[in-house]
Symmetry: C2
Subunit: 127 residues, 2 copies
DNA sequence: TGGGTAGCTTACTTCAAAGTGGGTACCCTC
DNA sequence: GAGGGTACCCACTTTGAAGTAAGCTACCCA
């Protein structure tokens, strides 16, 4: 095992308690849409419309809100081009790529094992 | 970069959408108390009361609920001893340890970088 | 002038995660 | 009998993430 909670606390103090930066960041990146937007951007730079289609089910309101949050966190960059119709591109920043290097192994593990962990009912619920 | 969303989708189908097993598991392990309980158990087997003290701020209701969920997921094991007062011990299962091997690098990275990502106000809010 | 586009914002509503306050069973000590 | 302990449960309430519906901007085209 790499580290323990005790070791994390030794080096970073109290973590993941309500309202502290670590909990806030976790909530941002693991939120209903945050994880999907970050994963989509792992594939490369995308425009708003592309993200909208890639992340199925998301409303424009939630896409805007999620991107705003991740941009404020410095994990995603926004580049707007003075064109008509408007073209805005989103991409992971260096920090965002670094984050995904640590996040992808977990997300992949969950993708592979979720079927063993949660009963098929959850699957049915999603149908 | 290890994998992308496209690759995860190729191998596991639609992931992290509302209600599907992957999203449910993520919600369990990243919930307000789930992440702290799992981290606490990374330090080793613990009794109910020990967990209660280790995970500061958690109510008995939420400790019971969180442990019930993680036990149902097969990530945590519960061993009850026929003693008085009652003694119940919780530990990570093999699957739970495997999960933490993938979760700890992310959690550690977030602990180290959260201060750069989220403004100090969040810190103040936690005070 | 009315049509279109992409990319957003806002006011209000919904609902599930989490919290509160009360309770239980059993044994021990005083 | 009354107080303490551990390890939970339950009915009800709160609250914030997410959803809905409507709207907006800036520009181009016929």
């Amino acid at each position: 095992m790499t580290v323990s909670l005790a070791e994390i606390r030794r080096s970073s103090g109290e973590v993941f308690t309500e309202g502290c930066p670590t909990r806030v960041v976790l909530d941002h990146i693991m939120s209903k849409w945050g994880v999907l937007v970050l994963l989509a951007l792992t594939d490369g730079t995308q425009r708003w419309g592309e993200l909208r289609r890639e992340v199925q089910g998301i409303s424009e309101k939630m896409l805007a809100s999620t991107l705003r949050t991740l941009e404020a966190d410095g994990l995603v960059s926004r580049t707007s081009y003075p064109e008509v119709p408007p073209r805005v591109e989103y991409a992971l920043t260096d920090l965002g790529r670094e984050l995904m290097q640590h996040m992808l192994p977990l997300v992949q593990w969950v993708a592979v094992h979720a079927g063993d962990i949660v009963p098929v009912e959850a699957d049915a619920a999603a149908s």
